[in-house]
């Protein structure tokens, strides 16, 4: 059985009219690592814990001298 992707570009063959359309990447193919909407939905309990424990002033720098 041929499992090769029929849309796979073939080497250096010149592109034919309309060929690009069939090769298009869809939004679903994107490898999303952080999705802000998903973050919001799951409410991330660990983040809540972190917010509880890391102070608002944690980024204020101690400055020598």
């Amino acid at each position: 059985m041929n499992t090769e992707n029929p849309n796979k570009p073939e080497g250096n063959q010149p592109k034919q009219e309309g060929q690009y359309e069939s090769n298009k990447v869809t939004g679903d193919e994107l490898e999303v690592v952080i999705d802000p909407e998903e973050e919001k939905k799951k409410g991330n309990n660990d983040k809540k814990t972190g917010t509880k424990l890391v102070d608002s002033g944690s980024s204020c720098p101690p400055v020598a001298g």
Binding site: L30, G57, A64
Partner: protein
């Protein structure tokens, strides 16, 4: 429609990371998807499916200036009158003689009863000037536990006031952790409800004790003229804590590290939430794991039955540029810190504990610090008002007094030292900076506005100097433990 100005492409061994600093979205581009992204960069938006997904994630935006939308949110937070905070410096006295302390402590006073009454009146006006939903107090010093009567008096008053007026009341304290007795811990954590405490330890014992000696244990040749004068006033009667009658550590105790470690248990066992800030330099960060090991062995990272728990994070000691009292520090650049902090991150990973640092906030929130916020003040022991913790008890930075007839005049209109008027959206350098969404102008007290146009590194956020590294770190953290951040 166009690509966000805050998209950042970062090469990685897994592919190319695409990150957006406004939404915080992160995707990994393969060769195929990267080629398609390049078409967008050339202005070809014909791939409807891809554009739609990238738009939802914030990588593709409308034609309006993104910075205008961010500015609106920023202004909303700056002027939010429903959420109010006061940082009350109940004394500028301290029992430690930390070499890098930025506080002048020249007043060397405790807030007296008359000033406490003025603070109450000021607070009532502060909370009723506009409808208030949330009120927070941060107890600060000097060492705040050296004026327990003021904390008891004001905490009880505002707790009662907030209960009667339906206002959510929250308290936290920044303390050096050296003065706690069992009775004091019970009073503060259990009776007064000050559960959240920030305690600073400068790494493992030798590093900490070198940086943070007891004032009473210093040799005179090690002390500055101001410290010598301060120590003269640290007589046994002064060092005692009047309410609880427990003596504070005396000069025979050399190690403040040992005292703090012993005191942590008194607090955590009573349900305190300890935020342990590890101030580290280039050397001490390499030994900070030994401190973490000690804390871990005591079980502090595990929440106990009363809700007590500890979390430790690293904060770098930067070079402030003044050249004084810093000879033994090997200060880090922000780039170096961003790389070195991986030691701490790895320790947490090895121990299966979630790690939190500023990477959790790698997106636009519009939030800024006390310096800019309309409804946040620092109240000093003499009742003067300042706009930054760094200016605690420094009257030259005062913008008013709690007893003023109109204390809530918009401080942004005050002339003179104008760091609190700093607006990242009107400053050309910030406005055009790629990390504006996650920085919001950084530390206002250390930035160039305050320092005669001299750009101190301490002013900008770490991200400005290590953006590529931090995006890689964020990606790798998510990949290794996707549910953990």
């Amino acid at each position: 429609m166009r690509l966000s100005a805050y998209n950042k492409l970062v090469p990685h061994q897994d592919g190319t990371i695409l990150f957006n600093l406004v939404s915080g979205a992160l995707v990994l581009l393969t060769d195929r998807t990267k080629a398609e992204y390049r078409r967008l960069m050339d202005g070809d938006y014909s791939n409807v499916s891809l554009v739609s997904t990238l738009q939802r994630l914030g990588f593709v935006v409308g034609d309006a200036d993104e910075r205008m939308a961010m500015r609106e949110k920023y202004e909303e937070i700056v002027n939010n009158c429903k959420v109010k905070n006061l940082y009350i410096v109940v004394t500028d006295r301290c029992n430690l003689g930390c070499h890098y302390c930025y506080e002048d402590k020249t007043q060397w006073i405790r807030m007296d009863e008359r000033t406490q009454e003025q603070v109450k009146k000021f607070g009532v006006r502060f909370l009723t000037e506009t409808p208030t939903e949330y009120f927070g107090i941060g107890w600060y010093g000097g060492e705040p536990t050296m004026n327990i009567p003021a904390i008891e008096n004001l905490s009880s008053f505002f707790d009662d006031f907030c209960r009667k007026h339906g206002i959510t009341f929250f308290q936290m304290m920044v303390t050096n952790g050296t003065t706690f007795t069992d009775a004091m811990a019970e009073r503060l954590v259990v009776d007064l409800g000050i559960r959240k405490m920030q305690i600073t330890i400068d790494g493992f014992k030798p590093d900490h004790d070198r940086n943070r000696p007891f004032l009473t244990s210093l040799e005179e040749k090690e002390m500055s003229p101001v410290q010598i004068e301060q120590r003269k006033k640290l007589n046994p009667r002064f060092m005692s804590l009047p309410v609880l009658g427990q003596p504070a550590p005396r000069s025979k105790i050399k190690s403040s590290y040992d005292v703090i470690m012993a005191n942590l248990d008194k607090l955590i066992s009573r349900g305190a939430l300890i935020s342990l800030r590890m101030n580290v330099d280039h050397d001490s960060i390499r030994r900070a794991e030994l401190l973490l090991d000690e804390l871990y062995a005591k079980g502090y990272f595990q929440e106990n039955e009363r809700g007590g728990v500890l979390y430790a994070y690293a904060a770098p000691i930067f070079d402030g540029g003044c050249g004084s009292n810093k000879s033994h520090y090997k200060t880090m650049t922000k780039q170096e810190f961003s790389e070195e902090v991986s030691r701490i991150r790895d320790w947490y990973k090895r121990h299966g504990i979630p790690f939190f640092d500023h990477h959790n906030q790698m997106k636009f929130t519009g939030d800024t610090c006390t310096a800019n916020k309309r409804w946040e003040y620092v109240i000093n022991p003499d009742g003067t008002l300042t706009k930054c913790w760094h200016h605690a008890a420094q009257s030259e930075h005062a913008i008013g007094h709690v007893a003023d007839e109109h204390p809530f005049v918009d401080f942004r209109s005050i002339k003179g030292n104008t760091f609190h008027q700093f607006n990242p959206f009107t400053d050309p350098e910030c406005y055009n900076c790629e990390v504006l969404p996650v920085c919001m102008g950084g530390c206002k007290a250390n930035n160039k506005v305050n320092e005669g146009n001299k750009q101190y590194e301490a002013g900008c956020t770490t991200t400005r100097f290590a953006l590529t590294q931090e995006i890689k770190t964020l990606y790798e953290l998510r990949r290794k433990s996707p549910a953990r951040i």
